[in-house]
């Protein structure tokens, strides 16, 4: 029997990275952080991420966010990239897939970009 609450999620990234201005970044941290920035470096992907982040209920169905001028398969492709980067998590409930911003990811990214004192 299949579970109707099938969770479609990549492991949530951990963010022990120091603020960019506080210490020089190691090669390994740079690789990981660059991957997150890369996920937001596409305008359509960034708009989709913004729609998920700004949705009033805290989560958005794919139906809610897909009118950004690209095909539904393209939306799915971008959501997969955002999931793989640990920026969103998705959950299937019946017919629909619902997305939300991965817990902690926005404060962690904001912390990375905090200017040094």
């Amino acid at each position: 029997m299949t579970n109707p609450m099938e969770l479609i999620a990549e492991p949530v990234a951990e963010f022990p990275c120091p603020p960019l201005g506080a210490a020089e970044l190691s090669a390994a941290d740079a690789e990981r952080m660059a991957g997150m920035f890369k996920a937001l470096a596409d305008p359509v992907r960034l708009r989709l991420f913004s729609r998920v982040a700004a949705h009033h209920s805290g989560e958005a169905s794919v139906c809610d966010i897909q009118n950004v001028g690209v095909s539904q398969p393209t939306v799915s492709h971008h959501l997969k990239k955002l999931r793989e980067a640990g920026l969103i998590i998705s959950e299937r409930r019946g017919t629909w897939v619902y997305c939300r911003v991965a817990p902690g990811v926005l404060p962690a990214m904001a912390r990375m970009l905090a200017p040094k004192d």
Copy 2:
């Protein structure tokens, strides 16, 4: 007579973008913001940016930051990309070029990524 303080700077980007979680992003804002994330989406470029941001004096000469395992022309190429994205400003003084993080850019990016209340 050439000016020894020749400023090598792109116009500093303005950042009126709302926090990603506060409102849906327009196509134009998404284009601009994606460009900034793209500039940080390369591990070597991110390390160079981090070295500039973390330098104790607030600015770094190209000499200070270039030991990231790539050639000097590659360093110059990456610094140009960071300048074009409005993330750093550079200034030539005599033989050396000095870089610093563009004023306001780190708090502006952090604000974009601030989670909604």
